[in-house]
Symmetry: C2
Subunit: 507 residues, 2 copies
């Protein structure tokens, strides 16, 4: 695999992007399909990544005053009916529980038994069940704001599942908040989008555009949906997180009312916001290359792997001991306030095979130590953001002293590379022919890789959006937040436009 032109992942991105994506997941042992339709199994390497994502986000939620709680997996069918838009948005993809036991039939097989009076829906999102509880918890303005988050699994039936991006069951967090005033609910909506953008850029090293969704892309039941959008390496957009201003729609559906400081009863204002294991798909498609996963150091399950080089006749125990000693020293350093995560790989395996397994897993730094390095007091260092062959020799002391900086440098270089990529494929477009060409495959052998973010004017009409989606498979990803929007003429109708919006093909 170390031969020129041979890559650790096959096919390469430019050969078959979708298959490359699956093979990166497989090669890194992030996850795999399960025998249950549309559901994946998250393997330890993928789950540890999720734990790191959770730890950081959870800290950010708590810093902004939120507390975690847990609400039922099941939602009575009648609850979903309460908000008309909401039920319309989710009815087509709900797993429905209709029975509460199994019975062995005369055919020697199990059959559902014990029909439920009212079917239960496995939560696709929890606005309605949480709303029912909030209606009890909120009585007076003194109970507000109510700032709750839940880490949970949700189910949205998927006909075309894709690991991490679209699975029937996925893991996520959903924030749900209640406020006394409209202004405060808007502030919360914006604040949490800011938290997501900060996390995406500083931890996932994934640059994101922030903006508002158009009406047709809104969360079902929301007054407004804010979102972060990232550009993947096939130049498709990925919606990576959303924050919804729900107005009074759900407080009216669930009767969340409070006595204001004037003693009057009024409906409260609510928000909800969420990110999911989809972030792992986004991270993957932002940084990975034809040798596999590339992990941003701040979230990597292991940041440094130490590979003992056992040449013939080497004193194995001495090499292992030297590796373990170095691991201990490296773990004293801190990245983002956490001890550096180091592993000595003592598996019995050929050296090349072992090294490539860590390349495919995306570990930021690989350190090789053999008898020669021990004698000279040095290490051989490989960075995952550089060519595999490109190694540096440095003293052990130097590595220990600079490991935190090296990791932050990898983090920074990944972000900058992704930002440069996004710049390269972001186009301001004022010509309809150019727009169409931008979203048409240039190379018929690479039909998957084309497009990018197109910034163009739009008249605000849903019909225009629908037509573009039908004809080019392009949607408006967001109306970007702009301090100083530039008005113009709609590219498609010539009608007035307040500002440019972001068009892209998307996941």
């Amino acid at each position: 695999m170390s031969k020129a032109n041979k890559t650790a992942i096959s096919p390469r991105r430019d050969e078959n992007y979708s298959e490359w994506y699956q093979q990166v997941i497989r090669g890194a042992e992030l996850a795999e399909p399960s025998p249950v339709r549309g559901c994946m199994v998250i393997k330890p390497w993928g789950y540890t990544l999720w734990e790191n994502i959770q730890r950081v986000l959870d800290g950010m939620f708590k810093e902004t005053g939120h507390e975690n709680a847990y609400f039922p997996l099941f939602i009575p069918m009648s609850f979903l009916e309460k908000e008309a838009q909401h039920v319309e948005g989710f009815a087509k993809e709900c797993a429905v529980v209709t029975h509460h036991r199994l019975e062995m039939g005369p055919d020697g097989k199990l059959h559902p038994a014990g029909p439920l009076e009212e079917p239960l829906v496995v939560r696709p999102t929890s606005e309605t069940i949480i709303g029912a509880m909030f209606a009890k918890w909120v009585q007076s303005y003194r109970d507000l704001p109510l700032l709750i988050n839940q880490w949970a699994n949700v189910v949205r039936w998927e006909m075309r599942p894709r690991m991490f991006l679209r699975t029937a069951e996925f893991l996520w967090q959903e924030g749900h908040t209640v406020h006394a005033t409209e202004a405060e609910a808007w502030e919360e909506t914006a604040q949490m989008l800011g938290v997501y953008a900060k996390f995406a850029e500083e931890y996932l090293a994934m640059p994101v555009l922030q903006g508002e969704k158009t009406e047709s892309e809104r969360f079902p039941g929301a007054v407004s949906t804010y979102c972060i959008e990232a550009l993947m390496q096939d130049r498709k957009a990925l919606q990576a997180g959303t924050s919804h201003f729900l107005g009074r729609n759900f407080s009216q559906a669930s009767e969340i009312k409070f006595l204001n400081d004037q003693g009057q009863l009024e409906y409260a204002w609510t928000t909800s916001w969420g990110v999911s294991t989809r972030l792992i798909g986004g991270l993957l498609m932002t940084h990975s290359d034809d040798n596999g996963l590339v992990l941003p150091p701040r979230l990597a399950p292991r940041q440094v792997v130490i590979l003992p080089v056992l040449t013939k006749g080497a004193n194995e125990e001495a090499v292992f001991a030297s590796c373990r000693e170095l691991a201990g020293q490296l773990a004293e350093a801190r990245v983002d306030g956490q001890p550096v995560r180091v592993q000595v790989d003592a598996r019995e395996m050929r050296g090349g095979e072992k090294m490539w397994s860590w390349v495919r897993k995306g570990v930021p730094l690989r350190v090789e130590i053999g008898p020669r390095e021990i004698e000279e007091g040095v290490v051989s260092l490989g960075r995952r953001d550089r060519e595999t062959k490109d190694r540096q020799t440095m003293t052990r002391g130097e590595l220990v002293a600079t490991v935190a900086d090296l990791l932050e440098d990898v983090q920074k270089s990944l972000y900058e590379r992704a930002l440069a990529f996004r710049k390269e494929y972001t186009r301001v477009i004022d010509d309809l022919g150019e727009f169409t060409a931008f979203f048409t495959p240039e190379n018929p052998e690479q039909p998957e890789i084309h497009g990018g973010f197109a910034l163009a004017h739009w008249n605000g009409d849903r019909a225009v959006e629908a037509k573009l989606n039908d004809e080019l498979g392009v949607t408006i990803r967001c109306i970007p937040f702009e301090d100083d929007p530039e008005p113009g003429r709609c590219l498609f109708t010539g009608e007035p436009s307040r500002q440019r919006v972001v068009f892209a093909k998307s996941y």
Copy 2:
């Protein structure tokens, strides 16, 4: 509520124990019933307690070499059929998903639509779905041991739910491991029971008996079930954690085979082990009193609460500033390696009401500071393990210097009190009349509170167990691990017995 004989929780334990249990949960805002039958909502105070339990246990699992992963919520019905005992054990309490969407009917109501070819069961436990994955992951003895844990929600339909103790949905962890040898699988089973016992005693401050279940109380499909059993204040036993040696039952059902180091294909040996949110019910019934929850400091969401005392004419800002300063100093101290968790309660609320709210929530230390205390440089300290009126005055410096010791002292006193209680209600019994009397309410006005652990001889016969269960509602909680078992004669049949076993009524 501070009047003599008046308690913060009504009814008292001796008036109506079951209702007292519900009221402690309500008073502490741990959880509440939901509109979904059998499912509870875990409120922030209860969920933070669960997060602390998770953090400590997760650390213990990782120290013993386990990694976390995540498997599907749904299990195809046919998977459950693979292990005969297993399906028999769980078929009666499975939530069954039969449809994958909802449709609006002509009656204007939603109806399940899109019937599934094969119904899916919401996992009641994951041996079968995890087994199907392990069968792929395990090929050779080099892949073993495989040591996986999952934090997840599970569903077991409950006709008589009780918050934390028996709910349709609950949160838990389930460990699943695969081993090359029988001996290693037995060692794992014992090791994880040891982890649970250590956690129960050192963190929950809940003394536990360790032993093996009898055949009739075994996990469905296990060869042997090890358990920890604790004694609640109504003298009923609570099974608080189990660790199962599964032999080759599940590896045969799921075809988990490996090439051993002789190149022969053989079935692997598996274990599974779990604890759940039930631990919170156990903690509650071990320590709480008629004023509400009493929390062991190591797991308390807040360990110290600072209550500003705002007497008339006090300089409020000065009092708050002084409280915040103290909070900062206390947070520098460490308990169990973690910063002391302190909160200043600045809510607008009468002082007495505020203090009692923290008593009901079980916070280990309450510190009151008013203008007088500030002037004298002292604080007034109340411990949750002592009478509410029993307060100590000490200098601020003294409190800062000793807060960690004080918290460890509360932790220790709770454990010792619980141990003394268990000793008081553990009886060695060799007389059948005494056995019957022990499990018969002494006081007809307190039918709920009686019994305890009875150590008696038993001939090993299931029929004897069944009869005792029918007649007295008593079961064998465990066959305790004994280095030097004392043989004797079965109390019920006179037949030989290898050792005494533990009888109790139970949750």
